[in-house]
């Protein structure tokens, strides 16, 4: 149907084309901002075309993935990216790459060396984010049309570099590569805020953003190395030539536990390793516990009988006890290590999302940054945090995600929904209102994610796309006013329906999408996220409180949004003093595209979300399988320890 090699090239093109555009636009910028913005919008449009060309075959492949139901025996335990450049096999793919960036150590010759790889690929979780990144960058370029005139070449160049770094992080399946791209986003973001920001405190805001998120992600770096070092590839205890991920039973039915092999940086392999080590520890512990129970009963039975038998039983019991203690210490060590690694790993992501109370970099940044940059921040950069949760934190620390996720981070998410909604209501600036509204919606996303159910994770993956579209479009729409009147202070506007009816129409559509009106996109993902809070997995763990908090978001989001609409769009006309001699006009052609495109996508995703859901299903089920196993493991341990 299509040539796989071409599509693999297309993956690379989607990733690196923005770098080329950046160089081009930087040169074009020398001859004025008009040339720069033309080149930039053409480049962004071209990129959108390439992304669509990539997305179409990917979605077809992803939707047809079979045998990936959670309950299927042969279901994979690891992410299986398709269209991986450098994949040795030609046809469907081996979900691996041979492109090593940096070889750390050579292990046994049969095993691939421990190497940081250039491992990028497509799966159900990232393909839609890549499309989103492409769409949002195009919109960002369009809304910068009139507002950026100084050093436009540099501005667009940094914008493209930001896009490239974000897409790189979306596509990475190597944990170090992911981290590199993740951090690379900081540099363009820093310059975009610091040099092209609108407010007086832009340098301070840029510094704050840079340091705060860097601090968070340094913890993540520690976590990444911890995870890599504690989860080496398991190898069979008997023959060093074989590596596998299963706990083996030999021909006599004895269970053979694996030994530690070389370390790996591939997220897919790390997932397998984490799963194997967890199961190994748990299995050992369960066996030791059972043995001890058996020995205890044997000892009790022997009581009062032949002293020889008693002695023997006692010795047996002692041995079982020692064995149990060793294994238990092992398991506890592994678990407490996982505990710390979980919190270290998640630190960078919760700052990036941001989750209340780690959101304080956001108000300053959003109010100082140019509108287009804010759009990219909330539309796609925030998704690095949420994707990090789903791609790295949960699969690599499944036990802790089950144990700590909902009580700690679910709670922060629920708190964020309510707290940020109240903060949003009290804002006087449109940008700040949109910023806090974004925090509130992302709180719901994180809360739903940590239910670790198919409904919640799918809802989260879908909400990333939906929230990106609506929150991004909201900032684009605010840019309309910022460009014309140089202010986004709500008190200076009133009755805009009469003055800008076409603009008001699009604003209403996006606002309604944002409050979760059925038929528009956010409704679907919000329903999925809330439903996840009513599954028995969740209600048994934390009751119904989080469900109530999430549902209250339905009202709260309407509360601040409708109040904003009343203030700004209804009532008698009031406008700030216009900065130009010519009165500003309603929608310009490029704005029709910038506002219409996301609005139409919102409608399509609201009515026909199933293809998107279908293409995510197999990958969500991979994670659910991991967490279901972790949940079962923890349940067994709990019941055995009693």
């Amino acid at each position: 149907m299509f040539n796989i090699e071409t599509i693999r090239l297309l993956v690379l093109a989607v990733l690196f084309a923005p770098v080329a555009f950046a160089a081009l636009v930087a040169i074009a910028g020398l001859s004025g901002y008009r040339v720069a913005r033309r080149v930039a919008s053409l480049g962004a449009l071209l990129h959108l075309g390439m992304t669509v060309a990539l997305a179409v075959p990917s979605v077809f492949v992803l939707m047809d993935r079979v045998g990936l139901e959670t309950k299927a025996i042969k279901a994979p335990r690891e992410f299986q990216p398709i269209f991986v450049p450098g994949d040795p096999s030609l046809d469907s793919g081996s979900y691996e790459t041979t492109w090593n960036l940096f070889t750390v150590a050579n292990g046994p010759s049969e095993l691939p060396p421990s190497a940081i790889q250039f491992f990028v690929g497509i799966d159900g979780l990232n393909i839609w984010l890549v499309v989103l990144a492409s769409v949002m960058t195009y919109i960002a370029v369009l809304v910068s049309h009139g507002s950026i005139r100084e050093r436009a070449g540099g501005y667009y160049a940094w914008l493209f570099l930001l896009q490239s770094a974000i897409i790189g992080a979306f596509l990475s399946f190597d944990i170090v590569l992911f981290y590199i791209f993740f951090e690379l986003t900081l540099i363009p973001a820093f310059f975009l805020i610091g040099c092209w920001g609108t407010g007086g405190g832009r340098r301070d805001a840029a510094r704050k953003f840079f340091l705060y998120t860097l601090l968070g992600s340094l913890f993540t770096l520690v976590g990444i190395f911890g995870i890599v070092l504690t989860n080496p590839t398991p190898v069979s205890p008997n023959s060093p030539s074989k590596h596998q991920y299963m706990i083996l039973a030999n021909s006599k039915g004895q269970i053979l536990f694996p030994k530690a092999g070389p370390v790996t940086f591939s997220i897919s392999k790390l997932m397998q390793n984490v799963s194997t080590w967890n199961r190994t520890h748990a299995e050992k512990l369960n066996r030791a516990t059972l043995l001890r129970i058996e020995a205890t009963t044997a000892f009790e039975k022997a009581n009062g009988k032949d002293p020889k038998i008693v002695q023997q039983a006692e010795a047996e019991l002692k041995r079982a006890d020692v064995e149990f203690q060793t294994v238990k210490t092992d398991r506890d060590d592994y678990k407490s290590l996982q505990y710390w690694l979980f919190f270290a790993l998640i630190a960078g992501f919760v700052v990036k999302v941001p989750l209340v109370p780690f959101h304080t970099w956001l108000p300053a940044t959003y109010s100082e940054a140019p509108v287009a940059v804010t759009l990219l921040f909330t539309g796609i950069l925030a998704k690095l945090g949420t994707l990090g949760l789903i791609r790295i934190v949960i699969p690599l620390c499944p036990d802790m995600a089950v144990q700590q996720g909902l009580p700690v981070f679910g709670f922060l998410g629920a708190l964020g929904i309510v707290y940020a909604a109240f903060c949003a209501y009290a804002q006087r600036d449109l940008k700040m209102l949109a910023a806090y509204s974004s925090v509130s919606h992302l709180g719901l996303l994180v809360l739903g994610t940590f239910t670790l159910t198919a409904e919640g994770l799918t809802g989260a993956a879908l909400h990333m796309v939906n929230h990106g579209l609506t929150a991004g479009a909201m900032f684009a729409l605010i840019g309309f006013l910022a460009e014309r009147y140089r202010t986004t202070d709500m008190n200076q506007y009133s009755g805009l329906i009469g003055r800008f009816p076409k603009y008001a129409f699009w604003m209403f559509v996006i606002c309604l999408a944002s409050v979760g009106l059925p038929g528009l996109n956010n409704f679907i993902s919000e329903m999925l996220l809330i439903s996840a809070l009513f599954t028995p997995e969740t209600t048994q763990a934390v009751g119904y409180g989080f469900g109530v908090a999430a549902a209250s978001g339905i009202f709260l989001s309407a509360w601040y949004t409708m109040t904003m609409l009343r203030k700004v769009f209804f009532g008698p006309l009031l406008l700030p003093p216009q900065p130009t001699a010519v009165p500003p006009r309603d929608m310009q052609p490029h704005e029709w595209v910038a506002f219409g495109l996301p609005a139409i996508l919102c409608l399509i995703l609201g009515v026909f979300p199933q293809p998107v859901i279908q293409s995510m299903r197999s990958d969500v089920n991979i994670i659910v399988r991991q967490t279901d196993e972790a949940r079962a493991r923890l349940e067994t341990e709990k019941s055995l320890s009693r």
Binding site: L211, Y212, P357, T360, W361, P363, A364, Y419, F422, C423, Y425, A426, Q427, T453, A454, E455, T458, G459, G495, I497, G498, L512, L517, P518, G519, F523, I524, M527, L528, I530, S531, L533, F534, T535, P536, T539, G547, V548, A551, S552, I554, F555, A558, W559, M562, T563, L565, R566, F569, F570, G571, P572, L573, V607, P609, Q610, I613, R617, V620
Partner: protein, 660 residues
């Protein structure tokens, strides 16, 4: 998909037509043909109502349970949450569909005259069509999520229509209030839906959920919680206590919009929801009692508030709240008495109420049109000569609303009263409470008759007065506005007596709805009552006639000569309470709105505080540096001392460790 050869295919076509009308009206505006925007709306409503009448005629005969469902593919489906575009055609949805489209047709015709020449003409008709579409979607849905789509859709359209005159601050405030107050109820509805999803075997379609609940009944506490949460949604949408406050304010929209909201779409949604979920409510007598009590309290309170209003439309608005309370009174009996009586009575009242309430609102719109958009009854009076047609139809509507015997309102109210009395006489758990509610209902009926005729006399009797805004050429409305009035008046006169008391067609048809048959099965399983045939009771009819007579008599005695207001001195206090709407809005403002706003401001300030803490943490390195800086003082002797001391400590430790 939309196969016209099957009843449900036809019904779906009828439901989708208004959507096409909405799109077409919007497109007309884009090509500067906005002045023709009423055509797609009227045509689509009219053809939809003809189609639904044809469907109705096609399935009206027979005694079997009637329920045709169809599934037009998946909407979204993940894990245990599987939602499809599922539609259901049963007597309940069919009657709603027919009523909605029929009433909407005439409201649209009236609007074409009323809104003539308005700059937002196309916008008006486009949103109105969308409104009707959303309502059709709501009644045709076969699962809670489709229902929610229609439910929120009507909420949105009412928001847009109430805020139609966007430049008016009061309209903007009313629109926001309508949306937010109903949304508050929706939080409960959504919680109820998901709780039901959890205990209902993860089903989303109505029939599947009810079947699952019937087979595996959950704990009675759970089912009561679910019922009450669902009822929260109905409280918001159908303007019951304590969330009724949005409906009187919703008068800010154009008057035909009020007719639409009060008669056909929007507020009836809550009643429909409870009728649809009758199989659940049958299982929980506690929930039933609470529904009935809230309905009764709302009916009485709204009736009281309607007594002293000076705004004609506001009187009608409170009367809607009160009449909706009646419907919930009936629904609250569901389970205590057979749903075949309770739910049918509520739906019957909804049906007849749609006719006379639409009529009254359109009539008041006609008055308003003539009076230059003035609706304050103190500013005009004695209009019966000036506007003979409006007067004639208005008096019919008032009589029907008041429940004058033989008019349609009388029959439906009689069924409700009869149901309440029967509930009181039953041996169910809380049966004595229903006697009290019966008395409340009777008192409300009396109040209804009084305030309706007070408004009627103040408007049409006494000396002829017109406000200055009418510029002295107040006139009867054009034919395009009078025809709908006449048609609806005919409905108000005859529809009640034709469809039920004489033929019992309405009840028998509605009983074939699976919601009601299932509820009836549940009712029989839970109560050991022998089903009594529903008979006309002269006692109830006599009492209600007496109440109406007292009400109308009082109004005639006081207001026969039109305005101004005459209040017996003893009742001055009560009058001012009613006039000031019991200060409910003010109380809510102080008790809920202000605290929430203050909380928001506190939240914003706290956020600044959080930021300060973060900043403080960033000063930590600098602080540590400041502490350590004195050590680097540049004195070689100091460094040497440090070295020696350090070495000494190190050696001591080494020595002690090895010695141990």
């Amino acid at each position: 998909m939309l196969d016209p050869s099957t009843p449900i295919g036809m019904a779906l076509i009828a439901a989708v037509l208004p959507l096409a009308g909405a799109v077409l009206a919007g497109l007309l505006a884009c090509v500067r043909l906005g002045r023709f925007a009423h055509l797609p709306a009227i045509l689509s409503f009219a053809s939809a109502s003809v189609i639904s009448a044809v469907v109705l005629a096609g399935v009206a005969e027979g005694h079997d349970s009637l329920s045709i469902s169809t599934d037009l593919g998946t909407w979204f489906s993940v894990g245990r949450l599987n939602v499809s575009f599922a539609f259901l055609l049963d007597p309940l949805s069919l009657i709603m569909l027919a009523t909605v489209t029929f009433i909407a047709t005439f409201i649209a015709v009236f609007s074409a005259g009323y809104m003539h020449g308005d700059p937002g003409y196309a916008r008006y008709f486009s949103i109105m069509s969308l409104f009707v579409f959303a309502m059709c979607l709501l009644v045709m849905s076969n699962n809670f999520f489709m229902l929610l789509a229609g439910w929120e859709g009507v909420g949105l359209c009412s928001y847009l229509l109430v805020g139609y005159y966007y430049a008016k601050p009061s309209a903007a405030a009313a629109a926001r209030k309508a949306f937010l107050v109903t949304r508050l109820g929706d939080v409960g509805l959504v919680l109820g839906i998901f709780l039901l999803w959890q205990v209902g075997g993860y089903e989303t379609n109505f029939d599947a959920i009810f079947a699952h609940i019937a087979q595996y009944p959950p704990a009675s506490g759970t089912i009561t919680t679910i019922c009450l949460l669902l009822f929260c949604g109905a409280i918001g949408k159908s303007a019951q206590l304590p969330l009724y406050v949005w409906l009187p304010d919703a008068m800010e929209g154009p008057t035909p919009v009020s007719a639409l909201i009060h008669a056909a779409t929007m507020v009836t949604a809550g009643v429909f929801l409870l009728a649809r979920c009758a199989p659940l409510f049958v299982l929980s007598p506690e929930a039933g009692l609470i529904v009935a009590c809230i309905g009764g309290a709302t009916a009485l309170l709204a009736g009281f508030l309607a007594l002293a209003q000076n705004d004609l439309k506001r009187v009608l608005a409170y009367s809607t709240v009160s009449q909706l309370g009646f419907m919930f009174l009936a629904l609250g009996c569901n389970g205590v008495i057979s749903p075949k009586v309770a739910v049918v009575a509520a739906m019957f009242h909804l049906f007849t109420h749609a006719f006379f309430k639409a009529l009254l609102f359109l009539g008041s719109g006609s008055v308003m049109h003539a009076m230059g958009n003035v609706i304050d009854m103190r500013k005009f009076g004695g209009l019966r000569k000036l506007m003979p047609w409006t007067h004639a139809t208005f008096v019919i509507g008032s009589a029907a609303l008041a429940g004058v015997p033989l008019l349609s309102g009388f029959w439906s109210k009689d069924q409700i009263l009869h149901g309440l009395l029967e509930a009181g006489e039953s041996h169910a758990k809380y049966h004595t409470m229903y006697f009290g509610l019966f008395a409340v209902a009777l008192a409300t009926a009396c109040l209804t008759a009084f305030y309706t005729f007070r408004a009627y006399f103040l408007t049409f009797w006494g000396n002829e007065r017109t406000p200055p805004e009418a510029h002295g050429h107040a006139h009867e409305s054009p034919a395009i506005m009078l025809v709908p009035l006449v048609v609806l008046a005919a409905g108000a006169l005859f529809v009640g007596v034709l469809v039920d008391p004489l033929t019992h067609w309405f009840g028998h048809f509605l009983e074939r709805s699976p919601s009601i048959t299932e509820a009836h099965t549940g009712y029989l399983a839970h109560s050991n009552m022998i089903e009594k045939p529903h008979e006309f009771s002269w006692f109830v009819a006599g009492l209600s006639t007496l109440a109406v007579a007292v009400g109308i008599g009082g109004a005639t005695a006081l207001y026969r000569r039109g305005g101004p207001e005459k209040v017996p001195p003893a009742l001055k206090g009560l009058y001012s309470l009613s006039l000031n709407k019991l200060y409910v809005d003010e109380t809510y403002g102080i008790a809920v709105v202000k605290p929430a706003e203050m909380l928001a401001t506190t939240g914003r300030q706290f956020d600044g505080f959080l930021d300060a803490i973060t900043r403080l943490i960033t000063y930590l390195p600098r602080l540590i540096a400041a502490l350590l800086r004195p050590l680097h003082n540049g004195l070689v002797q100091f460094y040497a001392l440090g070295m020696v001391l350090g070495l000494a400590v190190f050696l001591t430790v080494v020595v002690f460790r090895s010695a141990r």
